[in-house]
């Protein structure tokens, strides 16, 4: 992995994003402002939802904010790379990048580094505002939180790699990002605890990595649980991350080889 190449691509994407000043400021403000209506809705639903989230912090507003922040990271990890590569294939930029000896892994990480970092910044802003509005995060559990967020990012970047591989080989992601985002949103415990969903759907949610990640993260961040108390969920998430990232790397490798054989690395 060439960190200089990753840094240079991140900087270029950052400069491009900030050149659209209004859009950049609006993106920051929107995430900040989103927290306010969530606060009032969560307060209204607290009496009903409180008992269901006893093991995940008890505060429905905190529950939702953590869910939203993590969900936005999941969306970026799953969807930004295939979208970016689809555009870059059509304008020849992908070919230009692969023609440089920086290496494919560095190029791929470099292409998504800025969106991921910006999403983390937006998430941090949301958490800061949530803290102002009374959410208490157990900052002493920062290492656990960091580990869980990293595993979530790795797992979902693996999905993004699979989708990107499909995009490179067949010019379609087969809607994998959309399916994963929808499934994660409804079954991963973003808006409500997985324990409150019907039993047969709950079975499906066991195949959603976000289920384990969010549950472990909320327990660490909102209920001050240490790693040993959330080990089961973290290990399951790590297994997902390992499998999905391995599959993603395999898919990318096969897709690039296929595209080189078929001559379809670019279509401009």
């Amino acid at each position: 992995m060439k960190f200089r190449a990753i840094g240079a691509l991140t900087r270029a994407t950052f400069l491009t994003a900030t050149s659209y000043r209004l859009r950049f400021v609006q993106a920051l403000l929107t995430s900040f402002i989103t927290v306010i209506p969530v606060f009032f809705v969560a307060r209204a639903l607290q009496p009903m939802m409180g008992p269901a989230i006893q093991r995940e912090g008890r505060d429905f507003f905190a529950f939702l904010v953590v869910g939203f922040v993590v969900m936005s990271l999941v969306v970026i990890c799953v969807d930004s790379l295939p979208s970016q590569v689809a555009g870059d294939i059509n304008n020849g930029f992908f070919e230009a990048l692969l023609g440089a000896p920086a290496g494919t892994p560095s190029v791929l990480v470099g292409l998504v580094a800025y969106p991921v970092l910006f999403t983390i910044l937006r998430g941090t802003l949301m958490l800061v505002l949530a803290a102002v509005l009374g959410v208490h995060l157990s900052l002493g559990r920062a290492p656990e939180m960091l580990l869980i967020v990293t595993l979530l990012a790795v797992a979902h970047f693996g999905v993004g790699l699979i989708a990107t591989g499909l995009m490179i080989a067949f010019r379609t992601t087969l809607s994998i990002p959309q399916v994963v985002i929808t499934a994660s949103g409804f079954l991963g415990g973003v808006y409500w605890p997985t324990s409150s969903i019907p039993s047969w759907v709950y079975k499906v949610s066991e195949f959603v990595p976000l289920t384990y990640g969010l549950r472990a993260l909320r327990q660490a961040a909102l209920d001050n649980k240490d790693l040993s108390q959330i080990a089961s969920d973290v290990l399951t998430l790590a297994a997902f991350a390992g499998c999905l990232m391995s599959l993603g790397i395999l898919a990318m490798s096969m897709a690039l080889s296929y595209a080189r054989r078929r001559g379809t690395l670019s279509q401009y």
């Binding site: 060439k2 200089r4 190449a5 840094g7 240079a8 691509l9 900087r11 270029a12 400069l15 491009t16 050149s19 659209y20 059509n90 304008n91 020849g92 930029f93 070919e95 230009a96 990048l97 692969l98 023609g99 440089a100 000896p101 920086a102 290496g103 190029v107 080889s257 080189r260 054989r261 078929r262 001559g263 690395l265 670019s266 401009y268």
Partner: protein, 356 residues
Amino acid sequence: MSVVPAQPPSPPVEAEHLAAFSVRVSALSKRFPVRRGWGESLRHPLSTRWVTSVDGISFDVRRGEFFGLLGPNGAGKTTLLKMLATFITPDSGSAEIEGVDITNASAEARRLVVPVIASERSLYWRLTARENLVLFAHLWSVSPVEIEARVDDVLGVVDLRDTAAKLVGQFSSGMMQRLLIARALLADPRVLLLDEPTRSLDPVSARAFRRFLREELAERRQCAVVIATHSAEEAFDLCDRVAVLDRGKLLAVGVASELARELEGNRYLAWTTMPDHPNLRPLLLHDDSVDGSPVALREMEGWTPVLLEIRGGPAAAAELLRDLVLQGVPLAALERVPMSLAALVERVVRRGREGA
């Protein structure tokens, strides 16, 4: 001068001879599956039809040489360039860049050969020219302490130093093309691959751009350049040697001007004031050295050019001229028709297809 109808694999060469070559291509082939309609795909789901894009092509390019690939659309020029750039994997044969095999050591080959991606959209339009180049300098692992100087150098080379701080989106097509070249030069390549580099330039800019390519790349940097082009003027202006391709096959390769001379054929114009002279037509029709029927073209200021095909070279032409004069045909000149490179390519392609 070496005009060859088709190129067999190069014979083994000695080490020092080998060292003179930047590119060695040997029996390179590539075929692609043909896209089929829904009906055919459903009727024969397992069958695949193939089209051969590059068919056993061999050639060498020396250091500092401009080598042109000419041919009609679908001749295989772009596929060949993309194989050399490691973007397409060959089915068979081999190619070496400075002795490095592009298939088995593609990562190493990528350090030596740089394709100029012709798409202007492959630049960051919201960044300045300098910022675009700095990005690629990092991707090419140019030493951080050298980046500033290297970027300045290539900006100067393509004459964009004064507009380095301007957003690329505000550039003209010609400036973007020059920036794409500058981006490729950052890597200090040994071999540069250009695919129709002047297609979006006006004639004046294209001429200036070709002069720059010649002086900067070949003469100053001793960089071998393989250039695919439809433009005859471009090939004549730039290339030391050209190869003519059609349907994936290499039909001829040689020095552009010599290739033209060898293949320009036997077309002559006889300028006369009496194209309907009673002795003209019978003489031409019965002369063994004249092929086909003569064709009278449009009169110009009292003189009518009659197009002839004369076999036997200048000697036969001189003999025919003498006979025409002796028969009383008023003639001002009998001149050989120079052939444009476009016509030359067409002739080579036609000859190749007839021979196939």
